[in-house]
Amino acid sequence: MSDRFDPDPKSAALLEVTDLVRHYTLPRERLFGPPPSVKALNGVSFSVRPGQSLGIVGESGSGKSTIARLVMALDRPTSGSVKLLGRDLHALPKDELRAARRDVQMVFQDPYGSLDPRQTVARIVAEPLEALAETSRAEQRERAGESLAAVGLRATDLHKYPHEFSGGQRQRIAIARALITRPKLIVADEPVSALDVSVQAQVLNLMQDLQQQFGISYLLISHDLAVVNHLCDEVCVLHRGVVVERGAPQQLFAHAQHPYTQALLAAVPRAEPLASA
């Protein structure tokens, strides 16, 4: 049984999501009759090309976190497919799926919850490599050091614990963890929402640098239009489990067609007029 992940050479897209549907059944409320269900995603399709970044904008209940989980194969879709480099992730055997994770990593929202408080930074950052079981401890440590340097932290931080760092620094550690396998795609679920504005700016600049330096694509999920605008080539607006509008950020934000997009844009409190495209 091969445990390597071989991409499909015919596919041009890095990530291709087709008609993704996810319904959750809730516990029964009545003895007879069907149990209630939450329709989190109702047929979402999008694709990410190599070197490009896609943003998914939505509010709570839009299904954006569900997309993150399905793309990372942390959850199974009710129907539809998630194809990474042409191969359907949910149809892969376990070993190949594990190998596939080399190419797609995730950054979570909560800098305080996404790092294990009982592990050193070295172990946390090296975890994706450790899971792949291909490298020695020494090499893992070395790569962890490289990853930390790439996000602006130091090798001396390797033996420290998460509680010794601020929110922004912890998010950098989370990014370093996502970088260590040199993935092609990073799924970032609200990566800067929990950070202060000035710290947010530092992390966004970092993400931009990594984009240019390593050619990483982001699947950026956020409720904040300005953040998505900053990092992505294309934006999908998600509302109640469907994509209501998509396009390049500048065009979308200047000439929104769908009423929901317009409502979203109108609701953003503005301290100054929109910069003209």
């Binding site: 601020s166 620094q169 409720h223 950020p249 934000f253």
Partner: protein, 329 residues
């Protein structure tokens, strides 16, 4: 006489590394019906400031200075007297609608509670008042939902219920601590409109805390920018937004990603990170991170420099900043 007058307020907290000053000599006044915004990032002391107004600090905190509310000195006021003010003359809206309401009490009971406590209304009378309040804050179908529990409402509705509670006794001062941070942006807009409407309607004074400059711009007539426990810049909102004199204020504005900005534009960041309270220098808290730091900055607290339109900045390097930025002061 101003409704609220804060003078040289100092709050010392016990941290893991010993005592630290969380609020370092701030002062401001608020007239009846005026709206004030406090903007700053985590750890700047904005929440501690309003908690000291309400007397909600931990027991180990030491407060000095003066807080005069309608003539009454709040610093050192015994708890019993403070209880009479809270909920009656001063109302507060909290950040987390999920946890600010008691999950095992009906909303009628919670909204009516301040009325029963401060106005001595009976249960039936309080219930009638609660209904009127809930309708005013826009809870749909309020009459049939009086006996519902908080978990049966959405986040935005829970915040409306929280607002109803804060307003129940018709306070003179409403304090809103990041009231919309935990809400979606479309709901945020509705809640802010509601707060603005109520404040105008009832002639209340408002203190609104936010980290979001956009929220401040739309909601308040004057503002304070806080950093490291001090007010670094204060003044009427249009003046502060237009002039942005203090380097920290400039950094805060520059760091926001703008909608519609071209791709590839780097955001301007403030170098370094916020130091812990115990590590702040005795002088300007921004010393070290600031581009214009001089040796004198960390040593002594910068005095307030008055600019036109009641606009004040605490910085000793204003001349250099003006020269470099080509600004007129």
């Amino acid at each position: 006489m101003p409704l609220l007058e804060v003078n040289d307020l100092h709050v010392q907290l016990q941290t893991q590394r010993g005592p630290a000053e969380a609020v370092r000599g701030i002062g401001f006044t608020l007239e009846r019906g005026e709206t004030l915004g406090i903007v700053g990032e985590s750890g700047c002391g904005k929440s501690i400031t309003v908690q000291s107004l309400m007397g909600l600090l931990p027991a180990s905190a030491k407060v000095s200075g003066s807080i005069r509310f309608d003539g009454t000195e709040l610093v050192g006021l015994p708890e019993r007297e403070m209880c009479k003010l809270r909920g009656d003359r001063i109302g507060m809206i909290f950040q987390e609608p999920m946890t600010a309401l008691n999950p095992v009490h009906t909303i009628a009971r919670q909204v009516g509670e301040p009325l029963r406590l401060h106005r001595g209304l009976s249960a039936a009378e309080a219930r009638k008042e609660a209904l009127a309040l809930l309708e005013r804050v826009g809870i749909p179908d309020a009459a049939s939902r009086l006996d519902a529990y908080p978990h049966q409402f959405s986040g935005g509705q829970r915040q409306r219920i929280g607002i109803a509670m804060a307003l129940a006794c018709g306070p003179d001062l409403l304090i809103a601590d990041e009231p919309t941070t935990a809400l979606d942006v479309t709901i945020q807009k509705q809640i802010l409109e509601l707060i603005r409407g109520l404040v105008a309607e009832r002639g209340m004074a408002l203190i609104l805390i936010s980290h979001d400059l956009g929220v401040i711009a739309e909601s308040v007539s004057k503002m304070l920018v806080m950093y490291g426990g001090s007010v670094v810049e204060s003044g009427p909102t249009p003046a502060v937004f237009a002039e942005r004199t203090h380097p920290y204020t400039q950094g805060l504005f520059a760091a926001r990603p703008a909608l519609g900005a071209p791709r590839g534009l780097k955001l301007e960041t403030i170098r370094g990170s916020v130091p812990e309270l115990v590590d702040l220098p005795p002088g300007c808290p921004f010393a070290g991170r600031c581009r214009y730091t001089a040796d004198a900055c960390a040593a002594t607290r910068p005095p307030a420099v008055s600019l036109p339109h009641d606009h004040r900045v605490r910085c000793i390097r204003l001349d250099e900043i003006a020269a470099e930025e080509g600004m007129a002061l």
